[in-house]
Amino acid sequence: MESLRFLEIRELAQRSGLDFFDVIFEVVPQDIMSEIAAYGLPTRARHWSYGKVYIRQRVHGQMGLSKIYEIVLNNDPGYAFLLDTNSEVANLLVAAHVYGHSDFFKQNVYFSPTNRNMVNVAVEHALRIDEYIDRYGLDRVERLMDIAFAIDRHIDVHKGLVRKPYPTRQVVERERRTQTYADIFGEEDFALTKVVVGDTIPPHPEKDLLWFLVQYAPIEPWERDVLEIIREESYYFHPQFETKILNEGWATYWHAEILHQYAKLSPSETIDFGVLHAGVVNPGHPMSVNPYYLGYRMLVDVERRTDQLYKAGKSAISGREKLFEIRTQENDISFLQNYLTQELVEELGLFAYGHACEHGPQGQKRCQKCGELTIQSRRLEDVVYSLVAPRYNYGAPRIVIANVNDGSLWLEHEPTDLGPLDLKYAEKTLEYLHELWKRPVRLKTFNGQRETTALTYSASGMQIGK
C-alpha cells in the first residue's frame, strides 16, 4: 500500500471542505470483517444473536454474494477496516468514502450526542458482561440480554442517555399568569398556586422503557447494569439508523467526487474505479431500494437544482454549499420529505407497493389478493411515505409506559396508520417485561379493526380483553 496516495486522498477530502476525525485504518481478513459487521463494533458484549448474523455474513462473503469492502466507526479517532483482498484502487475509493462518513459523524447534528469513545466503552461493556457470565452463568445473562434487546429500540432521544430520576413527591409553589398573553399588553398579573409534583410514576408517559425498568423494576444491581449497557449501545446506534440513506449517500457522493478529482489514477485503475462505483450505486432489488443509490442520486439532484437557482440568482448559496447544509441538519426522514421530487421519483422509477386486497392484511379474512403485492402508487407523497414509514421511532411501534397501577405496569401503544402489533411477538415481549417487573404487565393497543384491546400478561399467561 502506498501511503502517499492515501495522504493525497486525505488532502483532497480536506481541501473539499470535509471536516472529519482522525481515522485509523486497519487491514483485516474477511472473517474478521464479517465479525465486525455482525457486532457493529470490534469488541462488544457477547450475545448469540451476533453469532447468527456473523454466520450468515461469513457464508455470504465466502460464496461471493456480498462483499464488505469497508467498515467505519463513529468514534474519535475513527476506525476504518479494509478488507485484505481489496485492490489498491478499491482502498483509495474506500478511504475517500470513509472520510465522507467520518465527516458526517462529526458534523451531522443527530450524531452530536453520541459517545465518541464508544470503541473503548464497548470493550468495557464486554468485560463486564463476561464477568457476569462467570458469576451468574451464561443462561441467565443471555436471557436478560434477550429481554433488553427486545425493548432497546424504545428510547427517548429527546431526553437523552443520561437522565435525572423523576422528582420525588413534593408540593411546590408555581407562579402563573392569571391571564394568557397579558404580558403582551404590559398588564402582567401573577398568581401563586401550589402544585404537587412527583405524585405519580411516571409523571408523564415514558418512552424510554429500559431507563424506567432500570430505575423501578425489582431487579438486582448487576441486572440493572446489563440493561444499562444495552441501553447505552442502543443510543449510540440510533443516529446511524435514522441517517442511513443520507449518510451513505454523502459518503458515496464524496468518494465519487474525490476520485474524480484525483489525477493520479492509471487508465486501468480509472476503469476499476468505475466498476466499483457502479457496484456501490446499483439500484438494488426491485422491491427494496439501495440506500447508497437513493442517497447519492438525491444529493446529486439537489446540487444540480440548487446550482441552477444559484446561477439564476434565486439561491443565496451554491449547490455544494447546500449539500453541506443538508449533511449538517437533516436525517433521512427530513431529507426525503424536503428533497425528494416527483421528477426524481419518475427518473428512478420508484414506487410504493403493498397488498392489493381491500380488507387489509389483518384479520381472519383471506382472499386471493391477500398474498399479492402490487404497485400502489408512483406519486411523490406516497413514495416518500413508504420510505419514511419504517424509519420513524427507530423502526419500532410507539409504546409508552402510561402508569403503574396497583403494582402492575400499564403500557400504551399509540395508534398510528402502521397497523396493529404482531400479536405473537407482543405476547413474548410482554412475557419478558413481566419477568423483570414481576407483577402483571398490561398493554393497551388496537386490533385490525382499530378497536382498543388490552393484552395483560400475568403469572398465568396472556389474556386478551377490551
Partner: protein, 396 residues
Amino acid sequence: MTEVPWDLRRRALKDSIRHDKRVKEAIRQNLKELIAEENIITAEGKKLVKIPLRYLDQYRFRFGEMGSGTGQGKGHVGEVIARDGERNEGSEQPGDQPGEQVYEAEIAVEELAHMMLEDLALPWLEDKEAQQITTHTYDFDDVRRKGSMAHLDKKRTLLENLKRHAAHKEPKVGAFRDADLRFKVWSAHEEYHSNAAVYLLMDRSGSMTTEKKYIAKSFFFWLVRFLRLKYQTVDMLFIAHDTEAQVVPEQDFFTISNNGGTMCSSAYRIALEHIQQTHPHARWNNYVFHFSDGDNWHDDNSHCRALVTQLLDHTTMVGYGEIRYQDEASFYGGAHAYNSSWSTLHQELSTIPHQRFMTVAIKQKADVYQALQTFLARNEAGGVSSGLVNVALRTG
C-alpha cells in the same frame, strides 16, 4: 495502516456456536410443526435438510405483516410484482424492516429423526417364545493399560497422570508417560430380540386428496424412519387400497397416486391373511397402522368392524388414523381448524372395546406428531422390555 493479530480477539465463533445450540433447542421445541415440513419428507437421500426457522427471531414489539415498502422499476400502478414469500429473494439490504428474514437452519436428517423419535417405542412389545434371534452388540466396559490410541480414555488418563504427580507431592497435569495411559476396551454382548412386523395400510381412493395423502405419507415416513432407527430390523409390509387392496413395494407406496372408491375392508383382509400365513401371533409382534379419511362405502363398515376385531386377536396393536379437515387454510393451522364429526367408519370401529385398538384424528399438520406420540407411546407388556426387534426387512 496497521495489521493486528486478530485471532486473539475472536468472539463471533463462540457466539455462533451458542446460536447453533439455540437452533437445536428451537427445533426440539417445534418438532410438532416441523414433522410435516415438506422439505424434510422429500429429503430423500439427502444428508442435510434446510429448515426455515421463523421462531428463532428475537422478540420485540413490532408491527403485524405490513407488506408494504418501496421498490423501483417498470410496471403500471396495480400490477402484481410479487407474491408473499418471494419478497426477500436476492435482496441484500440488511434489516431495514424488522423480522422479515427467515433464517434457514441446516441439520442432518438423522439428527432430526433422533429428536423426533427418541421418546417413541413400539407399544406392548413382547418376547415371543420361538425365533428369538441373537445379535451382537459392543460396549466399552473395561479399562486397560494397553490399547489402540483411538480408544484412549482421556479422562482416566488425566486422572492417572494427576495421581502419579500427586504421589510425588506435586499435584499437576503434564509430563505424560506410558504408565499414565488408559484405554477403553470393548466386549461383545449377546442381545435377544423379539420379532415384529409392521403393516402400513393407506387409503389411496379418490377422496384422499393430495393434501390428505401427504399427511398419511408423512406419518408413514416417520414411522418407517422410526422403525429403522430404533429397531435393527423390522418386517414392514406396505398395503395400498381403494376398493381393492394390494401389497406394494416401499418406493411405490410413497409415490402412489389416487383414484377409485373406498373399501377399507380389502386392506384389512389382506393384512389378516398375510399375518396368518407369515407372521403368526404366537411368534410375532404384529402392528397394523391404517390411515384413511374414513370416506368408506357404507355397507363395508360392518365388514371392517369384523375384520379389525379379528385382527386384534392376531396383532399386538391396531391403530386407525383419520384425516379430517375441510380446506387447506384450516389445515395449515388457521385459527379455526375444521371440526367435523367422525366418519361413519370410525363410528363403527369405535364400538370395538379393545385396549389395543387406537384411533387418532388429524385436523392439522401438527397433529401428525400427536399421532406418532399416541400410537408409539411406551406401553410395555408385562415383565418384558426388550428394546430391540429383529427380522429381515422385506417389502411387499
